[in-house]
């Protein structure tokens, strides 16, 4: 890591000493603001995202809407650092993330649930959860955190010794979400959590997001094609089309104004 990267990694909360590390692990973490400023990114050639500005205030849920190929996944992968930004800035809690590695972004409290419920198939449910929590908790506190997730997603308790590849789609999504929130992140990125799930499971997942926002002040960036479910919990909605922001409105407006919805979301 370069000296510059070291500095910005510290600035977003990487500890200097063992005592700092302990203090950081013990401190209650609340949501942070996420701000994208003129973000341009893509897989070489033509950029997928073109100068996107998005602001997600701390403690709110932002629904990122748009058709397949609009750039939702690219946006999330840029924020978590899996994909480099060509230009523009990604600002997390006031700090530019340009020089911060994927791992350090995660440790600072930026959690991502990638598309396709990426549980580690070879690990058990318990191990997946412990993996999510062990950068923040160890020993008994880690076990307590895992139990906290089982309280939130009760169907997982019976499956705790099952390997990831034995789970149903709904169980996988619960596990992927549980694993992302176990370390008490400050910003949570979700890529189409409702994809292929029964409505009842979708409702349960949206309810968990709402609870996390209301009780812990978690900031959520929720990319969804299931517009109705996403807008039901979101405070704000942003519509992407071909890599550009075409609408940026309170969720209430997008929910209730049928002319607006028709123009931007096609129904």
């Amino acid at each position: 890591m370069s000296a510059r990267a070291e500095t910005s990694a510290r600035a977003v909360g990487a500890p200097r000493t063992a005592r700092d590390a302990r203090a950081l692990r013990t401190a209650e973490r609340t949501g942070a603001e996420l701000h994208l400023d003129g973000l341009t990114a893509g897989y070489g050639g033509a950029p997928v995202l073109r100068g996107v500005d998005v602001r997600v205030p701390a403690g709110t849920i932002l629904a990122l809407l748009g058709a397949n190929g609009a750039g939702k996944t690219t946006l999330l992968r840029s924020v978590s650092g899996l994909m480099p930004a060509a230009s523009g800035r990604i600002v997390f809690d006031g700090v530019d993330l340009a020089e911060v590695s994927v791992e350090d972004r995660a440790r600072a409290g930026l959690a991502q649930v990638p598309e396709g419920r990426s549980v580690v198939a070879e690990l058990t449910v318990d191990e997946n959860l412990r993996l999510g929590g062990l950068q923040r908790f160890r020993g008994r506190r880690l076990t307590a955190a895992v139990d906290g997730i089982y309280d939130l997603f009760e169907p997982l308790v019976r499956r705790r010794r099952a390997a990831g590849h034995q789970l149903s789609g709904g169980e996988r999504q619960m596990l992927a979400l549980g694993r992302a929130i176990i370390a008490e992140p400050r910003v949570l990125l979700l890529d189409e959590p409702s994809l292929g799930l029964a409505p009842r499971v979708v409702a349960q997942i949206m309810a968990v997001l709402r609870t996390l926002r209301d009780e812990r002040g978690l900031t959520v960036l929720l990319a969804e094609q299931n517009v109705t479910s996403a807008l039901a919990v979101a405070d704000h909605g942003v519509v992407l089309n071909l890599g550009e922001v075409v609408a940026d409105r309170p969720a209430e407006d997008l929910r209730t104004d049928s002319a607006l919805r028709h123009a931007y979301l096609g129904f």
Binding site: V102, E103, A106, P114, E127, L131, Q135, G164, H165
Partner: protein, 292 residues
């Protein structure tokens, strides 16, 4: 019958060494998706270090400890210095770089120590104990078995019961997801190389006293046998390395005993080809986990 028992017992002791060395190959394969063709040469370097340290201090045990340290350091240097730069676009590039490392190490050892085998003493007698008048295992064979089984037990505990082990496994199976959870995957890959190289060094150190002596090519046959073991057991499967190692050890022992030592390498290669034809993934490959 007595002869069969003797061959089985010595085959198990030899097989335990193959199993350890194959386990080292499996560990690197899981961590970095590279078959480490340089492992034999790296282990021989560590064995020379042990040889020198034992010569200086007069203690086999300090030599053994220094082989573990030297083996781990070899893993660190080879991974950080060379293998890290292998492109993952082609699985062949890692193999070719590893073969290059073998050439460099074997030539360097040849220049430094010459091609002649140097006899290495075992810490325990190598004459078999008589059990009811039947020769079975030597005290040194017993020592090898205890060390190999004990080390495998420790590794199993490390991988299944510790945070480091969990991160090592997660990094191997799902590097991208692991990074998203804050796991420093690059460090875990290095840790896998260090761990595997130390295990490989120990296997070579245990083997050499039962052979003619230490020379730059001491681990060549060990590598071929252990590579067969790893392929037979499934490159992804530590239990496969254990069972395969014991199996190949017994096979070599029986073939050597009944058909002659020159036939043994052929038997190993026949087994390798047969398994590749019938079950290319290995006998213990976790196919259901890989395809999920």
């Amino acid at each position: 019958m007595d002869r069969l028992l003797f061959l089985l017992a010595t085959g198990l002791a030899r097989g335990a060494i193959f199993a350890l060395f194959a386990l080292a190959l499996v560990l690197i394969w899981r961590a970095a998706r590279v078959v480490n063709f340089a492992q034999g040469a790296m282990a021989v370097v560590a064995t020379y270090v042990a040889f020198a340290v034992t010569g200086l201090t007069g203690s086999y045990w300090i030599g053994l400890a220094s082989a573990l340290v030297a083996g781990g350091l070899m893993g660190l240097v080879v991974e950080r210095g060379v293998m890290r730069f292998a492109t993952h676009a082609s699985p062949l590039s890692g193999v070719i770089i590893a073969i290059g490392v073998v050439m460099v190490l074997q030539s360097a050892l040849g220049i430094a120590f010459g091609p002649n085998a140097r006899p290495m003493e075992a810490p325990f007698p190598e004459t078999p104990i008589l059990l009811g008048g039947v020769p079975v295992l030597s005290p040194y064979d017993l020592f090898v078995l205890v060390v190999a089984v004990g080390l495998m037990g420790l590794l199993a505990l490390l991988f299944t019961r510790t945070s480091l082990g969990l991160q090592l496994r997660a990094s191997a199976f799902a590097p991208e997801v692991s990074r998203l959870l804050g796991v420093r995957v690059a460090r875990m890959v290095t840790a896998g190389w260090v761990l595997a190289s130390a295990v490989g060094a120990l296997a070579a150190l245990l083997l050499v006293p039962t052979e003619l002596g230490l020379n730059p090519h001491s681990a060549d046959m060990l590598f071929v046998s252990a590579f067969t073991v790893a392929v037979v057991g499934g490159l992804d499967s530590p239990p496969g390395a254990l069972i395969g190692g014991l199996g190949v050890g017994v096979l070599i022992s029986l073939v050597t005993g009944y058909l002659g030592a020159t036939v043994a390498p052929i038997a190993v290669l026949v087994l390798l080809v047969a398994v590749l034809l019938v079950r290319p993934g290995g006998l213990f490959a976790a196919t259901e986990a890989r395809t999920a």
